[in-house]
């Protein structure tokens, strides 16, 4: 059953495209035609041609090589932050639902506070204090990113904990761990994974915006957001510098969103239909 579900999610077009993007990004040093940082002012601001497949930027660097390398930073920060928020959000959400009382109250107020502040403002603040860098990026985005997951987990767990079947299990002596493992986690897992996929796409865009504002990655390192920022002044003369990294961000977040929808569909929709009561056949 679980195997079939997994294959229905993973054997899909968006999953294959994402896999391809990840492989290409990891293998960037091997397959990119040029050194992403090698400048050649003579060849600056070229359009696509046979020598430079996606053209060159204002310093004459090869755009294709820079897009391939740029993915490393964007994708890894987004992935780490997503996993971090998945873990922290699930644990805090479960704790809040299981314990209730003052813990739940504190959790909700902190959550409200973080949800009320725009993510980018918090990220700006943290980066201003700690200075830019890989770790700061993860921290600045991760500090807020767990809240939607935690909220979702909390409300779903509270919902399942109040059902008759959980009460029945409790009453025949099920331990907390039994209830968590068999009743709560399977119920929560689908929507949380689907949400994580959607969040990954949003985080990718957020990280791009930070780099675009110049407070994300610092030169000579680059990512898709900083490439957009660098290409902007020359947009009229050479739009390819904008199109290539923009398309990369779009492709990844689009596929991830599709994947998220697919998870919702496979885990949510059909499962519920399977468990509809059938007509009574015999007593």
């Amino acid at each position: 059953m679980a195997k079939k579900t997994a294959s229905r999610i993973l054997l899909s077009a968006p999953a294959f495209i994402l896999l391809a993007v990840v492989i290409v990004t990891i293998a960037a040093p091997l397959i990119s035609p040029y050194d992403p940082d090698a400048q050649s002012l003579a060849d600056r601001l070229q359009g696509p041609n046979l020598v430079h497949l996606l053209g060159t930027d204002a310093l004459g660097r090869d755009t294709l090589s820079r897009v391939l390398h740029g993915g490393q930073f964007s994708l890894s920060v987004a992935l780490i932050t997503t996993l971090f928020s998945l873990l922290v959000g699930t644990i805090l959400g479960l704790l809040s639902a299981l314990r209730g009382g003052w813990l739940d109250e504190i959790f909700l107020r902190v959550n409200d506070l973080l949800l009320a502040l725009p993510e980018i403002v918090i990220a700006l603040l943290i980066i201003a204090v700690m200075g830019p860098g890989f770790f700061t990026m993860v921290l600045s985005v991760g500090v807020v990113a767990w809240t939607p997951t935690a909220r979702l987990v909390r409300s779903m767990a509270a919902q399942v904990l109040s059902t008759h079947h959980v009460e029945a299990s409790k009453h025949v002596g099920a331990s907390r761990w039994f209830i968590l493992r068999h009743h709560v986690l399977p119920f929560v897992a689908g929507p949380v994974l689907a949400q994580a996929a959607l969040r990954f796409g949003l985080l990718l865009v957020l990280l791009g915006s930070l780099s675009y504002l110049g407070i994300g990655v610092q030169p000579p390192q680059s990512d898709w957001g900083s490439m957009l920022a660098e290409a902007q002044p020359h947009a009229i003369r050479s739009p390819w510098g904008l199109i290539a990294p923009g398309a990369a961000i779009f492709l990844v977040s689009f596929c991830v969103t599709l994947l998220g929808n697919r998870i919702t569909h496979v885990l949510g929709g059909d499962d519920v239909l399977d468990s509809e009561p059938k007509a009574e056949i015999h007593g």
């Binding site: 008759h164 079947h165 029945a168 009453h171 025949v172 099920a174 468990s275 059938k278 007593g283």
Partner: protein
């Protein structure tokens, strides 16, 4: 001239599967015909097929004739002139089919076809007359209420008023009394019968419970597995040589004569002045006023009362699911060992996790034991409730209501309980499945010495299973006696009403 509603070779199928096959019958005005069958037998499909209200994935075949006119060939628009006007319907859950945002008056006006401004005043006297006709007083006040402000019995009366509003020739009633308690059920049945005779309406009454219609129906039609297997005048239904399926339904309606059973003298579970108040305000209405009661080993205690009478609150206190506000529940009568109490809930489909195999849900009771031992215990419990072990691998959606209720009992048995509290455990089942579950519980009592607390709004269940009866009324224990004593000498007015509601049934059975 008598009107006729006739269906000829009416079949309903879902793809390849035949759900109702070649049903054939006639309903004349002025007669009440009961269609009796177990859940899933196709009796509700019959009414839907007649009304042209089948879900899209089902296909109907055959003819439906209203005074010679083919209803099955009419379009939706033409059917609107039939539905609610010439043929109206009654449902099991009146509140669910009514619009929560409309007052009873608005429902009645709609049914009369009195739309538009100014019409309301013209028809006001008709509205009030209808409400009074179905026994809803004061009519002016009731007319202004919304469905959820009415009790179950009142809502069913209002539904009948709505059904009568357009002065129909026929009424199709689908289990209209199944969710009502014994007293209300008897009242609504008698009201329906009276109105039907006064107005000369033809009524098709769908039910799983022969007991409820035996003194109001003119004819009985028995449906089983999508086929009409038997039909006869009501009086002949109890004769011995009827169809096997008819016998099964009749047997489920008969009261049992049982020897008084032995019980231990000591208390197993005792409530001492236990009360429950859900609101914090001292003046708030108590859900349960101070109640004292003792449950003996091997005793079957029947607890009866309307919804909101405090019987379920009392059960939750006994089961230890909630703590009493004052007083206490004594569970330790044998030294330091607490009496083990288990609960069997009402809704079979909600007491198991729909995502999990039954085996996983059941293992909640034994997951602390070694795997081998746990497996053995489960096998043993399944044998005790008479179910094959394969059922453990299914999910709840693949089991019938009766099977799930047995599984719930098996799960409870895994904990070696001494007391089983059955809170309306049979009210979601049809009468045959209901009887099977009660028999199983009584058998377990005899074999394992279990004590049972059987909570029900249905006096037939209480009479069938109990040694002693406790009656709750408005949060108070008003009567507590041995069954036979209760049937003969009930003192409280509510108890008398309960016994009276039974008496009609008993008298009719004895006569046949």
């Amino acid at each position: 001239m008598a009107k006729e509603l006739e269906f000829i070779d009416l079949s309903v199928s879902s793809g390849q599967k035949l759900l109702l096959s070649k049903a054939r019958g006639t309903l004349r005005s002025g007669e009440l015909v009961a269609v009796v069958g177990r859940s899933g037998s196709g009796k509700t499909l019959l009414t839907k097929a007649i009304m042209g209200l089948l879900p899209e994935q089902l296909q109907a075949e055959g003819q439906v004739l209203l005074d010679g006119q083919r209803l099955d060939q009419l379009g939706d628009k033409a059917m609107d002139q039939v539905r609610g006007r010439r043929i109206s319907m009654l449902f099991q859950q009146p509140k669910r089919v009514m619009n929560q945002r409309m007052t009873i008056r608005a429902h009645l006006l709609e049914a009369m076809g009195a739309h538009g401004w100014g019409k309301a005043r013209q028809h006001e006297h008709q509205v009030l007359a209808l409400l009074e006709e179905v026994g809803l007083f004061p009519a002016a006040q009731i007319a202004g209420k919304r469905p959820d402000q009415l009790s179950g019995g009142m809502a069913q009366r209002a539904m009948l008023a709505i059904a009568l509003a357009a002065d129909p020739e026929f009424i199709l009633a689908d289990e209209p009394t199944s969710s009502l308690d014994s007293i209300l059920k008897a009242e609504v049945l008698q009201l329906l019968r009276r109105k039907q005779q006064e107005r000369g309406v033809g009524v098709l009454f769908i039910t799983h419970d022969i007991a409820s219609i035996q003194h109001i129906a003119d004819r009985v039609v028995v449906v089983s597995d999508g086929q009409i297997v038997d039909q006869c005048p009501t009086a002949q239904i109890f004769s011995k040589d009827r169809h096997a399926k008819t016998r099964e339904l009749v047997d489920a309606a008969l009261p049992a004569l049982r020897e008084p059973r032995t019980r231990s003298s000591g208390c197993l579970l005792e409530a001492v002045e236990a009360s429950k108040n859900y609101t914090r305000r001292a003046r708030g209405q108590a859900a349960l006023k101070p109640t004292s009661l003792c449950l003996h080993g091997g005793q079957v205690l029947g607890v009866v009362g309307r919804s909101g009478s405090g019987k379920s609150t009392f059960a939750r206190l006994l089961a230890g699911l909630e703590q009493p506000t004052t007083g206490h529940i004594i569970t330790k009568h044998n030294g330091d060992v607490a009496t083990r109490v288990q609960v069997i809930a009402q809704e079979p489909y909600s007491s198991f996790d729909p995502r999990l195999a039954i085996r996983t849900s059941m293992s909640a009771a034994v997951h602390r034991l070694p795997v081998e031992q746990a497996r053995e215990r489960m096998t043993q419990a399944m044998t005790q409730v008479g179910l094959p072990e394969e059922l453990l691998e299914r999910r709840p959606g693949q089991c019938s209501g009766g099977q799930l209720q047995r599984l719930a009992i098996a799960r409870a048995l895994l904990t070696n309980p001494q007391v089983l509290i059955c809170d309306e455990s049979t009210s979601a089942l049809d009468s045959v499945a209901q009887r099977h579950i009660l028999d199983l519980l009584l058998e377990l009592r005899d074999r394992m010495g279990l004590s049972l607390v059987v909570i029900s709004h249905d006096m037939d269940v209480i009479r069938y299973a109990s040694d002693d009866v406790a009656v709750f009324y408005e949060g108070e224990l008003v009567e507590h006696r041995p069954l036979n004593d209760f049937l003969a000498h009930a003192e409280h007015q509510h108890s008398k009403d309960l016994v009276a509601a039974l008496d009609i049934t008993a008298a009719a059975t004895a006569a046949s």
